[in-house]
Amino acid sequence: MLQIRIHGRGGQGVVTAAELLSAAAFREERYAQAFPSFGSERMGAPVVSFCRIDDKPIRVREPVMHPDVLVIQDPTLLHQVDVFEGVGDDVLLVINSARPAEELGIADFTSRLRPGAMLTVPATELAQQHVGRPIPNAALLGGFAALSGAVSIDSVAAAIGDRFSAAVGAGNIAAARAATGRHRLSSAVLP
């Protein structure tokens, strides 16, 4: 079972990201679930959502405490919330940032990761460019697909297309596809 935890802020599409990921996995004939952790709800509040993907029915319903993949939609959370709680050294890490990983100030954690296990995606910029709004979730899903290979970018695009109206869907699909070519593997963890 692949367990994904997504950290972001209210209004960034954190909940939708997990749902789209589960829909993409479902399209690939996998079992999938997605759900958020509900705290106080307001724009800008830290939000966490979860997704599980497996080849057999998923019985567990609890929050993802030990994720295999960690997606950070807002890099300002890195030093405000313990986003690395319960995360092992074998995690895959996707961070929304236009800056290289070395400048994010998380070397204490990332130095333990396997080579090629982390990438940064300028997701907010891609969203502005393709959607016209700073909602980074679709672009990060593109980055997730590129890094993990757990779902194909075509499935992600199809899930986005199912969810949104034609115009909004097309913009988000473009952002997701662009992210697969615009991500940056951390040089510190490259082999």
Binding site: E29, F35, P36, E41, R61
Partner: protein, 164 residues
């Protein structure tokens, strides 16, 4: 739900090791809240009243959609001004003999407390789904459900469910 596809009970039972066939209309992905709403719809409620509060909002949103689209007929959706009003409307509807449904969550259930005792004490059949948010009220949430449950006379159908 009403797409003419075979119901699970009518479908051929699959071997334990065989994954259910996709694209046959027998399996699909659905949001849990939408699933609750469609199950409630199949129970033919006559009055649905609720005030939106996450994480149950999508349940009553979906029910409102079913009513407006005409998929759920002979049902009135009442958009009330609070959870206290929601349970009060459910009490009135149930007392008049209508099949009543409402949904709430966390702080909404707290605000509904006074009316909950009335519903339980009167022994009225009312169905409610209560979502559970990660808030300080979660513990109280369970306590209220437990207390209200004790007041239900034998043989009535007043019950509160926690789907999460």
């Amino acid at each position: 739900v009403n797409d003419g596809a075979p119901r699970p009970a009518e479908a051929q039972p699959a071997a334990a090791t065989t994954r259910p066939a996709f694209g046959t209309g027998r399996i699909g992905q659905i949001e849990g809240s939408r699933g609750v709403a469609e199950a409630v719809g199949l129970c033919r409620p006559e009055v649905v009243c609720a005030y939106p509060v996450p994480p149950q909002t999508h349940i009553v949103e979906a029910l409102a959609t079913l009513v407006k689209a005409g998929d759920l007929t002979a049902c009135e959706f009442v958009n009330v001004e609070s959870e206290f009003a929601a349970m009060s409307v459910a009490i009135g509807a149930s007392a008049a003999g209508a099949r009543a449904y409402t949904a709430t969550a966390s702080q909404g259930l707290l605000y509904m407390t006074e009316a909950l005792y009335n519903a339980a004490g009167l022994g009225l059949p009312i169905d409610e789904v209560s979502g559970c948010a990660q808030t300080p009220s979660s513990g109280l949430h369970l306590a209220i459900v437990a207390i209200a449950g004790k007041n239900v006379p034998n043989g009535t159908r007043c019950r509160i469910r926690r789907p999460v």
